[in-house]
């Protein structure tokens, strides 16, 4: 964990409302693991008392990237940052995905902004020669993450609720990502998912009979991000857990989905 002031390299709206922010942060880029997050200070002075947690979207050559949606005061402020500004970061935090070094076939399931940490996971897995399939679902074609930014070598299947491809050049199916997940489970060693809670609920019922390890990343309101405030506690089948410290990545079966 470190606290640092990082200069903004670029901040672009890659699809309507979705921003890709690159920062110069060598130490952080080196330490960060896929699935971990960083707490970003937002606003001037005490305008916003809580930092905003964002998962690491990418890290390479001394730079770190975040992908976020403009949804509230904090992200609205972040969206306005431009080259030359600096940001106050605290991280990397949390456990991150736990990838079995022997796993050759990884299946990643991303819903909406859930693609953010999965791209970093894919980068690292492809680097070590694993094969990676990403099932990516979005509300509409126009919300899709730009295909050109994905790592080369990734197998991707895209599905949108409106069935439109947006700017994507690949074939896009119509429906939800969980419509197509079952057919992919059998050929994979490990499954990683990030997306909204309803997507996880569907996955739980699908995965039950398969006995495949499936890790999910949870999102929750956080105060400190480091385990001191107990603002992020959830009840799991293994007892109370702090999402910021024990998570944000959990085994899907550990979570009591009726309570989330």
């Amino acid at each position: 964990m470190m606290q640092l002031i990082a200069p903004v390299i670029s901040n672009k709206e890659v699809t309507p409302g979705m921003y890709l922010l690159w920062l110069h942060a060598p130490g952080l880029a080196l330490q960060a693991e896929p699935g971990q997050f960083v707490m970003l200070r937002c606003g001037e002075g005490c305008e916003m008392l809580l930092r905003r947690p964002l998962s690491v979207h990418r890290a390479r050559e001394g730079q770190i990237a975040f992908l976020f949606h403009k949804v509230g005061k904090g992200t609205e402020w972040l969206a306005q940052r431009e080259e030359g500004d600096t940001l106050d970061l605290l991280g990397p935090l949390g456990n991150g995905f736990s990838v079995n070094p022997a796993a050759q076939h990884l299946l990643l399931i991303g819903g909406g902004m859930g693609i953010a940490p999965l791209v970093f996971l894919a980068d690292k897995a492809l680097e070590r020669g694993a094969d990676v399939t990403l099932l990516y679902g979005a509300r509409a074609g126009e919300c899709l993450y730009p295909e050109a930014l994905l790592p080369s070598g990734i197998n991707m299947v895209t599905i949108t609720e409106d069935g439109l491809p947006g700017r994507s050049r690949s074939v896009v199916k119509k429906g939800r990502v969980t419509d197509i997940t079952p057919q992919f489970f059998s050929q994979t060693d490990q499954v990683f998912a990030c997306g909204p809670v309803p997507m996880y609920r569907t996955l739980v019922s699908q995965i039950k009979s398969l006995e495949k390890p499936l890790q999910v990343s949870l999102e929750i309101r956080m105060g400190c991000g480091v385990g001191v405030c107990y603002g992020c506690t959830i009840k799991t089948r293994l007892g109370l857990r702090q999402v910021c410290q024990d998570g944000p990545v959990f085994d899907i079966n550990e979570i009591i989905w009726e309570e989330v």
């Binding site: 606290q3 400190c224 107990y230 109370l240």
Partner: protein
């Protein structure tokens, strides 16, 4: 910059400086250690500790408000046994004193907590949080009547040889009455304030945002209220006061000191800046140098001289 927190106690509880961390915002001191030079702090007050481990309140537990933070953590903690077994051996190695914040649901529970902490290496004092609901009195806070507050204070003081601080709640009609009663009951110092009761509503869904409906407000939003309470309490007691509530900068801290606080606690500010307490300490040092103040006690209560 040394200050004495418990002059009425045989060891005095001497702190090397007046900047402490507030309970519930700095964990057990261990969590921030990778990025904060914790040994430079005046003291660390650990998370509120109960007799048995507590699960705390339902989610959501946090809401950001204008210059404030509303929390309803509900005293989730690992319980006193685990604190003694897992945390105190680490504290025993430290230079910085650690004060254990305790909370109970009956007078007996408070006394029992103090008994458990007796003689534990690494524990330098007890801070008694009397802002929790007293189950036998129908959920009313212990700190809400002078009689109940005094009973808890006397019971804890009788059960321990450690310095005792009682932390007052602002959710009362007249805080000076409570403060006087607690001081008379034999406490060594007072800390104030704890969080103020507050609530936020999600207008789209037409429901309270917090899982437990109301919560405790902290942060800069409560600072002027806290300063006024410290000022008023300083008029009626002659034991040290530890000021707390919305302190983010050195000038915030100095306001509390001039209102009559011998030391201060930094809470919510840590979430924004984990080094807030040490930055404030540096700021106080700079102020003293600039203003020619040699001893911090010269300015404790300075604001009272003009009335």
């Amino acid at each position: 910059m040394a200050v004495q927190i418990a002059p009425g106690h045989r060891n005095g509880l001497m702190l090397r400086n007046p900047v402490m961390t507030a309970s519930g915002t700095f964990g057990y001191g261990i969590e921030y250690a990778p990025i904060v030079d914790i040994q430079r702090l005046g003291a660390i007050v650990c998370k509120g500790t109960t007799l048995e481990p507590r699960e705390g309140n339902p989610q959501p537990r946090l809401a950001e408000t204008t210059a404030g933070l509303l929390n309803s953590v509900g005293l989730q903690n690992i319980g006193v046994e685990a604190v003694i077994k897992e945390k105190s051996p680490i504290w025993a190695e430290w230079e910085v004193p650690v004060i254990v914040n305790i909370a109970g649901e009956s007078v007996e529970e408070y006394a029992l907590l103090a008994t458990h902490l007796e003689g534990v290496a690494g524990v330098s004092g007890i801070e008694v949080n009397i802002s929790c609901p007293n189950m036998s009195a129908g959920g009313m806070e212990f700190g809400s009547t002078p009689q109940m507050a005094a009973r808890v204070t006397a019971a804890v003081c009788a059960a321990t040889s450690l310095p005792v601080i009682v932390k007052l709640t602002p959710n009362v009609g007249n805080i000076t009455e409570i403060a006087s009663a607690v001081a008379e009951a034999g406490v060594h110092a007072l800390s104030l304030i704890n969080t103020l009761e507050g609530m936020v509503i999600d207008i789209k869904r037409r429901i309270p945002i917090l899982g437990s409906i109301t919560g405790g407000l902290s942060g800069p939003a409560i600072k002027p209220i806290a300063v006024a309470m410290v000022y008023k309490v300083a008029k009626v007691v002659n034991i040290p006061i530890i000021g707390c509530g919305g302190i983010v900068t050195a000038s915030d801290a100095l306001e509390f000191i001039m209102a009559g606080a011998t030391a201060i606690q930094v809470g919510t500010a840590h979430f924004l800046n984990p080094n807030a307490a040490l930055d404030i300490l540096n700021g106080i040092e700079q102020f003293m140098e600039h203003e020619g103040v040699h001893d911090i006690t010269e300015i404790v209560g300075a604001a009272h001289r003009c009335d």
